[in-house]
Structure formats: structure tokens, C-alpha cells
Symmetry: C3
Subunit: 266 residues, 3 copies
């Protein structure tokens, strides 16, 4: 755990990895712009005719189930297996898991058929995916308490992934190691797609830290959190905050990220 | 008609209803962010496998035909019927009706098969949907004249819905009562999706005023209009206006909405 | 070549042509807003049931293969043929051609079956489409050198289109005439969709200059370039730049465009 998020950011900006994203319609522009701002090269492609070829050139694959349909699931599975074959890390965002059976089953199917490196979701989504709903009441509150750390740890074990649970404090765990990231701003919750952006950025960092998924996710969440802190300063509301967030992601320096990232063991 | 738009806004912010939107690709991010800014929780889902389950948890359903295709129509019909069964109000945005036979027939089919509470469109769209094209020349001009009020009234009767016709002055009618909303700014016409945003906001207010669709639509249009007035102040152009619109929707207080909403009988 | 870009812009703002765009999910909102800001009326429609009827009312058709799938290809071909029959110019953006066989073959198929007036892409895309990959190394660098002019000329000849190759300097060629456009700002490369926006604007100008595609493309690229120069002034980063770009496109006057457009023979 001696990694520095700043060093990962420097590598990301130098290598400019292609980040293949099969994501939802709502946030495609936003995750593409966030990927560019942090230093990656986004590509969106979902046709079964091309996803395997496209992912073969990518440094990471991001799968996001926010606006699912049957052909997209097929594309996600094809792309995921091709990413596994190419040893490109796969990051899964289980948007809305627990809200419908279709989403829950699709996320589980992806986890069954694809070797997913990192799952990034909010507490409710990660709990639903890990089958912890029954044990959880008031998922909204979890993020504020130490139980979100426990959730990340348990989900990591049950799902055999690195689990990144975002909330007021974010937790990333591979069971053995759990990291807390205490950066960010409540304004993130006032714009749609901030979770999806955090997943896309996790893909960017995973592309340059494929063998250190805990640190990749922690670095990504710290980078977004620090950028959000800067974007929220004097922002009159979520629209201006949203526009500025790309400014501050773009302007974020490796030195500043190392200095301000609030990452600790949990 | 003793409702206060401010009280509806307060209820919206307290209850945070889930607003299920099956809408067009162009505006998904925008309607989601507007929904969040006013106080609702947006969810976009269009798969036939999940729309019925998703809408069962929603306070309202918004159907928008801006970028139609056959599978989406099927999803809209399934979701609409499920919303009816759950007694969640359905708001329809007939984007581009009259421009192609496909759009006109689809909108009519939705009206036939689903109990739509509110139709929100511009004068040309509402006229085409109500079969009033032959009686209308220069639809662009209608919004500025009292004939838009007549259009809203006639369409409400013919379509058996509350009709909300937006333009320089907006008119909302259930035949018996017709309300004029004289808020807004011409800059709204310079961004794509402002109509779709008004429909999404109508869904938000309908979720907390399911039994008062005229006041729900009037409150939503007043809220957007007041927010647009604030966003347009000193805005150098539509890009800045657009970003600020989410700031001003977010900052809009119930008191300010009551004070500034310019709603009258028409 | 006596055209004035300012005069074309004035015509565009007076006639407000409908620009039918079958484009990718990532940029739909952005190209629609850019189309509005410059003076056109955007419409997005991709259903095979309506594309022919929709394009029959349009001044130009923009095809963009950024997020392809089989049904969209069918729609593009139908719309393209209908645009040809209606004598509306067709502009093609071969996003990502060369990255996958599927994209390359689809772009070629569109060129085979549709009479495309203008192809707008970056150097790598245009080179791949024209079968010039083998002769090219380091496509990123091409834009900065005179070889991009040669690429535009050669591609125009091989593809029998007007080729618009964008980069640090843009080149537009119909083989006989080649124009260099030296406007713009590096910040354009920091936002997703700036290429797609340039294609949409090319469609707008082509709608009012259907018989002068070289000047239409040159005018569009100059307009975007000048607007980008204004938007970049004091912009703290790509998010603010992006929002302002719609302000500056909207505010661009014909006089200013004529004065500042840096178009020369190449």
C-alpha cells in the first residue's frame, strides 16, 4: 500500500490509455469528458460486431448497467470476456441493482461470466449485489458510518472483487485491505452521473494500475473528491459545479492529489 | 384552484418522489439533472424486462417520444399501463408530433392505450395531436396570442387530458379551468431540451399533486419559468444559461416561487 | 471561391434549416445545442419507420457512426438515400474508422450506397477511410503539417467527396481546390464531441450552400474555430470552455466571422 495517487495520475496522463465504456445513455457525455479531463481516452462502443475488437486496444473496460437492454447485455458479456483475455481490467457499475430483478440478475450474470476486477456502487447497490439487503436498513445512512467499510469488506469477499462503496466517505476493500477515502463534496449528489463518473475514473486508474485495484480505485475516488472540493468552492449550484468539475479534474496536478488525498486504512 | 406552487414544491422536496422517465437520448442527462435540482429522484429505464417493476416504485411516469423506435414504444405502453395500475400519473411529451406519421400514430396509440394525465407540448405538437392542424396557420405565432389558450382548452377536451401548451406564455387546461403562466425567458428556446425539461418537471409536481393535474402542470411551468428568469440574468449566451438553469432550479425556494409565479385564469 | 463565411452564416440564421442528425449517443445534446446556437434547427430521428419522412423536410442530413449498431446503419442508409432523392446534402462523420472493421466497413458501405457530399474527420479517420493507413505513420502529427492538406486532397479524389480533415489546422478539399482553416483552440481537443460538433455545423452550412460544399465546410470550421477562440479566453478548463462555446457560437456575428476567419488556399 505504498502507492501514491499522484504517481498513478502522472502515469495516466503520460500513457493516455483507451478506456472502453459500455455505459448508460444518461451519462455518456459526462463520463467521456471526465475520462478526457483526467487524462484517458474514452471510447464508447456497444455493437456486438465490434466490442471485442475495440476492447482489445483498451487499457480498461467499464461496464455500467444504468439503461440496460438485452442487446447491450450481450455486448457487455462479449466485451468483458475479451477484456479478460486481453488482461485489461474490468470495472462494473451496478446502477440500480436491487431496484428491479432484471438489473440484479444482469449484474450477477456479468459477475458470473466475466472476471470483474472492481465493483463501484453506492451502499444500497453493493449491498443488494452481495445479497446483504436483509441485513441492511436505511442504506442511505450507511455511507456515514463505519458499517460502509464493513459492507465493502463483506461484498469484496462474497463477490471476489475489489468493492468500492461510495458515499460521504468512500471505502475500497479487497477483504484483506480496506481503505477509506474522505474527499468529496455533497454537491456531487446533486448532479446525475457522479457515481458513473467515479466508475469511469476508476477504469482510468485501473488501466495504469492493473495489478493494484485497491489503490487504483482509491486514487480515482480521491481524484474525483479533490476535484469536487475545488469545483464546489463558491459554486452557486449544481449546474455551475458540474461544468467546473471538468475544469478541476483537468487542472488536478499529481502533487496536489498526493497532498490532498485523504486516504487511510479502515 | 387554491393551490400554491410553493407548497407543492415544498412537498416535492420533502417526499423526493422517484420519477421514471422513458425519454429521448438527446435530453436524458438534462431531464435527470432538472429532476434532481427541483427535488425529485430521476430513474431512466426502458427495457421491457424491467419497466413495469421500475414504475411500480415511481411517483410519476414521463413518456417522451423524441427519439422513438419500436422497442421503446413497447416499453412505453407497458410502463404506462403499469403506472395506471399503480395510480401513478403519466405525463406525455409528444415531441415532433406532426413531423412524421410514425410520431403522430405513436402518440395517439399511447393516448389510446394508456390513461395519460397530462400532455405537455408546444402549440404545433398539441395542435397536430388534437387534429387541429387544418385550423392552424403559423403555429409559431400561436404561443403569443390568446389562441394558445383556446388550443389548450380544445385539446384537453378532444384528448381527455390536461393539456399544457408551452410558448411565450404557457397555458394549462382541463377544459373547465384554463391557467396562463407568464414566466420564463426567450433563452429557453435557445437550448435543446427545455421543453423536455418542462415535461420532466411536470412529472415531478404531478407526483405530489396526482389529483390536481392542472395545478401540477402550472406549478412546474412557473418553477421552470422563474428559474429561467434567474438563469438568464446577465447570461452571455445559451451555454452559460443552461448551466445556471440547474443552479436556479436548485436554489428556487417555495416562498420565491409563490411570490414570483405569474399564474392567472385564462 | 468568392464566398464569404459571414454571408453564409447570415443566410443560415435567416432560413433556419432543419438539420436531421443520425448521430452517436455521446454527443446528441451537444450537436443539437451547437446547431441551435449557430442558427439551425436540429432534429434527431433514427427509426426506420420515420427517417425518410423526416429527412424530406430537412436542409441537410448528418450521419455520424460514433455508437453504431445494425438498426442504426439501416436507418442511415434509408435516410441517406432519401436525402439524395430530396437533394439535401449528406455529411458523414466516420468516427473511429480504422479502430474496428465494423466501423470501417460501415463507413465504406454508406459511401457506396449514399451520395455523400462531405466527409469530416480527423487525419487518422480520413486516412483509414481512404485506404491510406499504410502510407501514414503517426497520424496525430499529420494535422500540424502540410501533409494533412495532401491527405484531404487525396481522400477527396479517392472517395469522390469533399474531404474535411480537422486538426490544429483544418483542410477542406474537392481535389481541385484545397482550403486551409487556421482558427480554433487546443481546448477543443479536451472535450468530447468537438469533432462531432464540427460535423453538425458543416451540415448547417451545407444546408444553405448545397452547391458549394468546400466553402460550406470551410465556413463551418472557421465559425467553430472563432467561437472556440472566444470561449477559450480566460477559461479555467474544459468544462467552462464547453459551456461558453455555445455562448460564443450564438453570439458570433457574420461580420466578426468574415473578419476573423483565417481561410486560405493550401
Amino acid at each position: 500500500m505504498s502507492e501514491s495517487p499522484g504517481r498513478a495520475l502522472r502515469d495516466l496522463r503520460e500513457r493516455k490509455p483507451l478506456i472502453h465504456q459500455i455505459t448508460n445513455y444518461v451519462v455518456m457525455n459526462e463520463t467521456a469528458n471526465a475520462t478526457l479531463a483526467i487524462g484517458g481516452l474514452p471510447v464508447m462502443a456497444h455493437a456486438i460486431e465490434e466490442v471485442e475488437e475495440m476492447v482489445s486496444a483498451a487499457g480498461a473496460l467499464v461496464l455500467n448497467i444504468g439503461t440496460l437492454s438485452a442487446p447491450w447485455i450481450e455486448a457487455m458479456l462479449l466485451a468483458g470476456k475479451a477484456a479478460n483475455a486481453a488482461k485489461a481490467p474490468v470495472v462494473l457499475d451496478p446502477v440500480g441493482v436491487g431496484a428491479t430483478t432484471f438489473r440484479t440478475e444482469t449484474a450477477k450474470r456479468i459477475l458470473d461470466e466475466v472476471d470483474v476486477a472492481i465493483v463501484r456502487g453506492n451502499a444500497a447497490e453493493v449491498a443488494a449485489l452481495a445479497g446483504l439487503e436483509a441485513e441492511i436498513r436505511g442504506v442511505e445512512a450507511i455511507g456515514a458510518t463505519s458499517s460502509a467499510a464493513e459492507l465493502a469488506r463483506t461484498a469484496a469477499g462474497r463477490l471476489a472483487v475489489v468493492a468500492a462503496v461510495t458515499g460521504p466517505v468512500d471505502y475500497v476493500s479487497n477483504v484483506e485491505h480496506t481503505r477509506a477515502i474522505a474527499n468529496g463534496d455533497p454537491m456531487l449528489a446533486a448532479i446525475t452521473g457522479s457515481g458513473c463518473i467515479s466508475t469511469a475514473l476508476t477504469g482510468c486508474f485501473a488501466a495504469v494500475r492493473p495489478d493494484a485495484p485497491v489503490e487504483a480505485a482509491a486514487s480515482a475516488l480521491a481524484a474525483l473528491g479533490v476535484a469536487a472540493e475545488d469545483a464546489a468552492r463558491d459554486a452557486p449550484g449544481p449546474g455551475t459545479f458540474h461544468a467546473r468539475l471538468y475544469d478541476t479534474l483537468y487542472a488536478l496536478s499529481p502533487e496536489s492529489l498526493d497532498e490532498r488525498a485523504n486516504i487511510s486504512d479502515a
